[in-house]
């Protein structure tokens, strides 16, 4: 019966319910699970970590992992619990990277939209600046900013945002250029819609996919940049539960206590990999045109 009616066959095969749609999307479950675990740890850090991440336990300092029943992953040179610091580190990571990413995305989107839509000298001026920022290694730009603003979490966040917005601006501008001369935009212009309204209602919705893909692809880089800046001692203070700082502390004891530096590095690598895999998947899912060879 179904085979005789093509419409019915088609209906049967198309993903209708959300469950079916999820199955069709081939979600990358392993990276998603890892990211959910990290977010869970960040939110409930106080509940699930066995110790206070800042508490010194001088009687149990530099304990190797699995040596005592309390400190599963060992302790650092002041007796702080490594596992608790790792868990709280996920919160620190999100607190630093999320706001700077949001600022970078907002700034980049505005610059990209304005630059792409207005064209002419506004475009070339904005793109010159964008290329200059983009061309320079982010760590150098970040160092320059930290030099003049001073060290501290806020300044590191500003530095991250200042290095990341350019990538968004470039990409969004390109997308806007490809949409700007399409019929629906031209018609809206003829109809007398204001430029602000055209950008907001007709151009912006067309760049959202690109924005999401670029965000998920960049997060990994931002996490690495943040960890590097913490490691160099430019952001948070020694003793704060951040992965980069834990590695810096472990470096001072590397011949006696390898575990202090080992675990945070493993976690950073896993999280960055998870974001990269998720970003690749999102790119393929939202926009098969962007798929690279291989």
């Amino acid at each position: 019966m179904a085979a005789e009616n093509p419409a019915l066959t088609f209906d049967n095969r198309a993903p209708t319910g959300w469950l079916q749609r999820i199955r069709e999307a081939r979600l990358p479950w392993i990276p998603i699970t890892i990211l959910l675990v990290i977010v869970f740890c960040a939110i409930f850090a106080d509940l699930i970590s066995p110790f206070d991440p800042r508490e010194n336990d001088v009687r149990n300092k530099v304990q190797p992992p699995f040596a005592t029943s309390d400190h599963i992953l060992g302790t650092d040179k002041l007796g702080k619990d490594v596992l608790s610091r790792l868990i709280h580190g996920s919160r620190t990571m999100l607190q630093v990277t999320a706001p700077s990413m949001i600022v970078a995305i907002l700034a980049g989107t505005v610059v990209g939209l304005v630059s792409g839509y207005s064209g002419r000298w506004v475009d070339s001026a904005l793109m010159r600046i964008t290329d200059a920022v983009l061309g320079f290694p982010s760590i150098l730009v970040a160092l320059l900013i930290v030099t003049y603003l001073g060290t501290g979490v806020w300044n590191v966040m500003i530095a991250i945002a200042a290095t990341q917005w350019a990538r968004f601006a470039r990409m969004i501008r390109g997308e806007v250029l490809s949409v700007r001369d399409r019929d629906f935009v031209v018609l809206a212009q003829i109809y007398g819609v204001s430029p602000g309204m055209i950008v907001w209602r007709h151009l912006f919705p067309n760049v959202i996919n690109t924005l999401m893909v670029l965000t998920s692809v960049s997060i990994g880089q931002v996490i690495l940049l943040e960890a590097s800046l913490s490691f160099l001692g430019l952001g948070l203070k020694v003793g704060d539960p951040a992965w980069g700082i834990m590695i810096a502390e472990g470096r001072k004891l590397l011949t006696q206590a390898w575990w202090i530096a080992l675990f945070p590095g493993v976690i950073i690598t896993i999280v960055v990999m998870a974001f990269n895999f998720f970003g690749d998947w999102l790119r393929d899912y939202l926009d098969p045109r962007l798929r690279r060879a291989g």
Binding site: F136, L140, T147, Y148, T151, L232, L254, A261, G294
Partner: protein, 321 residues
């Protein structure tokens, strides 16, 4: 071609001037060096302050000050380092060779490993080797450089004791003594390897996808149909064309390496410009920071310029753009 080189040269110079303006401007905004440099005993003495200001030329208008800065910067004169109490120029002369050595060694390692691996994994697509290479690339792009550096020090310098953990040995300047060369290479292996890791991953993926594209073209297929041996087709016909994007990327990464080695230099206590820059940043040592950033920036812009010009020679399509 001359017009192309000329245009790129002018662009490069404009970028350099813009960089110097931004760097100098931020010093200007960040505070008053005259007050900063006052001895503690004369902190509230306005006459000493005015005198200091005059001596440093800070009483002149911004544009004049900027012009003076530019004039000195051309000869790498950035004043005295606050902490070391000697000219920044002298420190730079010691530090630049170290950074260049490290960047070149890292680049040679990255290209030497990344290009062959990328080509082989394209030719042997979807085999075990291809998958191992892909896994390595994914790992290389996700791992924090400073962490892998520490882990390698723990293993190679601490646990096995095969390689030195820190520094550059007794090597100084551009060319070491003959007897010093083996020791120089022993000191280079770990930092250069860490520096190369992330680039190997990128070069490998780039070479692989470029190679896959080239292998799919008519001229490669025709060469195969003609009955030419696999080796000649792969290495002579395909690889040569696949390498063009790789070379550009390699050039740009070399420029990035000259600067991007800050983290690696810090971990390995490598006495280069990156370490000098970070030391300056952490101790508010403005002349040192200015010198290090201007030199790194200029090196970056010049390398990118040279790469672009060479690329213009290699691929005539670029010039027309």
């Amino acid at each position: 071609m001359t017009a192309y080189i000329g245009r790129r040269l002018i662009e490069g110079i404009i970028t350099l001037i813009a960089l110097s303006f931004v760097v100098f401007g931020s010093v200007h905004l960040s505070g008053d060096p005259a007050r900063f440099l006052l001895p503690i005993s004369a902190e509230h003495d306005e006459s000493v302050y005015e005198e200091q200001k005059k001596r440093l030329g800070l009483d002149k208008p911004f544009i004049v000050q900027y012009g003076n800065f530019l004039k000195k910067a051309i000869f790498l004169d950035f004043g005295n380092s606050f902490t070391e109490r000697r000219p920044v120029q002298e420190i730079l002369k010691e530090r630049i060779p170290a950074t260049v050595h490290l960047a070149l060694a890292g680049m040679i390692l990255a290209v030497g490993i990344g290009v062959p691996l990328g080509i082989i994994s394209a030719v042997k697509r979807d085999t075990l080797l291809d998958r191992v290479c892909k896994a390595f690339a994914i790992f290389g792009m996700a791992v924090p450089q400073f962490w892998i550096a520490i882990m390698l020090i723990i293993l190679f310098a601490g646990y096995w004791g095969w390689l030195p953990a820190y520094g550059r040995g007794d090597t100084q300047g551009w060319l070491p003594e003959w007897s010093e060369i083996p020791n120089m290479f022993r000191h280079l292996i770990l930092p250069a390897g860490v520096l190369a890791l992330a680039i190997i991953a990128a070069i490998m993926r780039l070479a692989r996808s470029a190679m896959l594209e080239v292998l799919d073209t008519d001229y490669v297929k025709f060469a195969q149909v003609k009955g030419m041996g696999d080796r000649v087709v792969i290495w002579k016909h395909a690889a040569r064309n696949a390498l063009i994007p790789v070379i550009t990327f390699g050039g740009i990464s070399l420029a990035g390496l000259l600067n991007g080695s800050v983290v690696v230099e810090v971990v390995f206590a490598w006495p280069g410009v990156g370490l000098m820059l970070l030391d300056g940043v952490l101790s508010n040592n403005y002349p040192q920071v200015l010198g290090a950033i201007m030199v790194s920036g200029a090196a970056y812009i010049l390398t990118a310029l040279v790469v672009d010009i060479l690329y213009g020679y290699a691929d005539p399509r670029v010039r027309l753009n």
